[in-house]
Symmetry: C2
Subunit: 341 residues, 2 copies
DNA sequence: CTGAAAGCGCTTACAG
DNA sequence: CTGAAAGCGCTTACAG
């Protein structure tokens, strides 16, 4: 037998029709147990695998999900935000559990991705990851929704949002950071991150921290907020900008760990002691947070659960079942950047 | 028009036959320029995309490559070796440039992956990444080769190896490390990493360093070599083991940055000064190397070029063109772990 | 340069 | 429980 075996080859060898082979292989209950066993044995022996293209074409579905990871056009070409790495691992494992294949693509936010994957029947649904300007993004989500393409995204969970989002409880996370800093007696909390509706996750973190301070009779000071995107270089620049303002502050809440790590480097260069002069809290708990000096106190997001939920919800959407947006709990992880040894 | 548009829909609207539409869309030179334009305009307007399942089925190829990333069963479930992250980015971008889709899967080394992807026509070829016991792995490579499945792998480039490998010049990299340490006056160089044929990359790094020392009239001492896999915890354990041997050493060459970072943590806990008491050199230049304290001197592998080559070679194999294994140059990156401020 | 015909390997009514 | 028939949406000889 030359070339790959087909279901017809198996049918001949088993002395049944080709549709019976197809049924047996997919575990249809309408096939005799003995026949099934014979067919499975032959399939095994020929190392037969169902041709995905044929079965997908006929069944009009793909068994494949596509993961689209957006990068800000400004970011370095070769780097992916490390926050997404464990999520990627969790997503691939969840896909395997659900019997789905995973197509992956890294895209510029500006590209015309929204049509391609679903329209060309490469994937049944889309998982959307990436930091970036939310307002630029929202329009594309609406378009996907209008087209009827199933999708889920990771990001802020907002009211009246197109489609389905999974994100962490950013407000709660910001609150944890604020309460922790208050417990250390800090009151002048600077915020490094773009706290606007362009970056709703950052904005929610800011607001959560602010809420904690307000309950203690104080508040965040907008004069101590500096825009930054999630990258070390951006954190460095923001820290420089903050210092140059010459305003007093005794704590920094960074919108992400990368920002915090960049900022800590600048503070160290300027002779500021961490945490004595400035306590620093990040967000995400990426692996580098533990390695940084001092080790970074941060708000952990549960990326494993995030990946699992993204896949689970998308599979539900693809199957036509109901699914709703969801917020994940956050966890304060205290390290040396806020607590002296 | 309900449902997705098909090439037949376009044919009707354009007043041509369906095959002509297919030809026009794929840029066949045998179609009238004016006809083509009319067809393209209609396709654009209907937001038409070729059904991949149908075209793949007919053309008997997939336009898809599969990336299989192996993890050692011992490693933490949720973590991917950070060394592979930028390579992943480079691979996805290279795939996009070549017009290929990328399926991704994380596998246990033990799984029976070798059959699935190619046999079920999900992918035309495989990219194999992962650290792990090479000897356990080699048999599977031979099997793939025998099946005629196109594949490329990242790893040590060895003689008489099944299939095609892309790897860095580990011997040269080890030599760079050895020469650098010699230039600092260090002679007692410990090696943390499994330097055996189970981990040929590590072994080559060891041998390169040894070669450099021998040229200077000394050599590596096997009594200063401790097995370790590429993980921080493994580096910590190896450093502990090294210290407990009570032998003098003034430098450590770690087989990977993760090992080096774990080891540096242990050295610091034991009051050893880096680089004064122990100079430390890693391998890979992962992002954490720059963040570590002290920042880690290391041998950089060009992951961008690696990803591009992997895709390029695999595409050649799939197309039936010739392609050969290749070694990439390495680069010494000097940081504070070997050079005091 | 274009069309009529066949067929890739499956799944799914339909009939028995 | 099983088979004969149709068809998913393309691409590819073949004929003109």
């Amino acid at each position: 037998m030359r070339g790959k075996a087909t279901s017809l080859d198996i049918a001949h060898l088993a002395g049944v029709s080709q549709p019976t082979v197809s049924r047996a292989l997919r575990g249809s209950p309408m096939v005799n147990e003995e026949t099934r066993k014979r067919i499975l044995a032959i399939a095994e022996q020929l190392n037969y695998k169902v041709d995905k293209n044929a079965s997908n074409l006929r069944a009009q579905q793909t068994g494949t999900l596509a993961l689209l990871l957006f990068e800000d056009p400004t970011t370095d070409e070769s780097h992916i935000n490390p926050f997404f790495l464990p999520m990627l691992g969790s997503i691939t494992r969840a896909c395997a559990r659900h019997g789905k294949d995973l197509l992956i693509s890294f895209q510029q936010l500006s590209n015309d991705w929204h049509a391609d994957y679903a329209d060309s029947h490469k994937a049944d649904g889309l998982i959307l990851l990436g930091y970036g300007d939310y307002l630029a993004y929202e329009g594309k989500l609406s378009k996907l929704l209008a087209q009827g393409t199933p999708f889920v995204r990771w990001g802020a969970v907002l009211p009246d949002q197109p489609g389905l989002s999974i994100g962490c409880d950013n407000v709660g996370g910001g609150r944890l950071a604020g309460e922790h800093l208050l417990s250390l007696g800090r009151r002048r909390v600077a915020f490094l991150g773009d706290a606007s509706s362009h970056y709703p996750e950052f904005l929610e973190r800011y607001e959560g921290c602010d809420a904690a301070l307000r309950e203690a009779g104080t508040a965040m000071d907008r004069a101590l907020q500096v825009d930054a995107e999630s990258a070390e270089e951006s954190g460095e620049a923001a820290a420089q900008a903050l210092l140059s303002r010459g305003l007093p502050f005794d704590a920094v809440f960074a919108a992400s760990d990368l920002i915090a790590i960049g900022a800590m480097r600048v503070f160290a260069e300027h002779g500021l002691r961490i945490p004595d002069d400035v306590a620093v809290v990040g967000f995400d708990d990426i692996p580098a947070a533990r390695i940084a000096t001092p080790a970074l106190t941060t708000i952990r997001q549960d990326t494993t659960q995030a990946g699992e939920l993204l896949v689970e919800k998308l599979v539900a959407l693809v199957d036509g079942d109901a699914a709703a947006s969801e917020r994940l709990r956050t966890l304060l992880v205290v390290r040396r950047s806020t607590s002296a040894g």
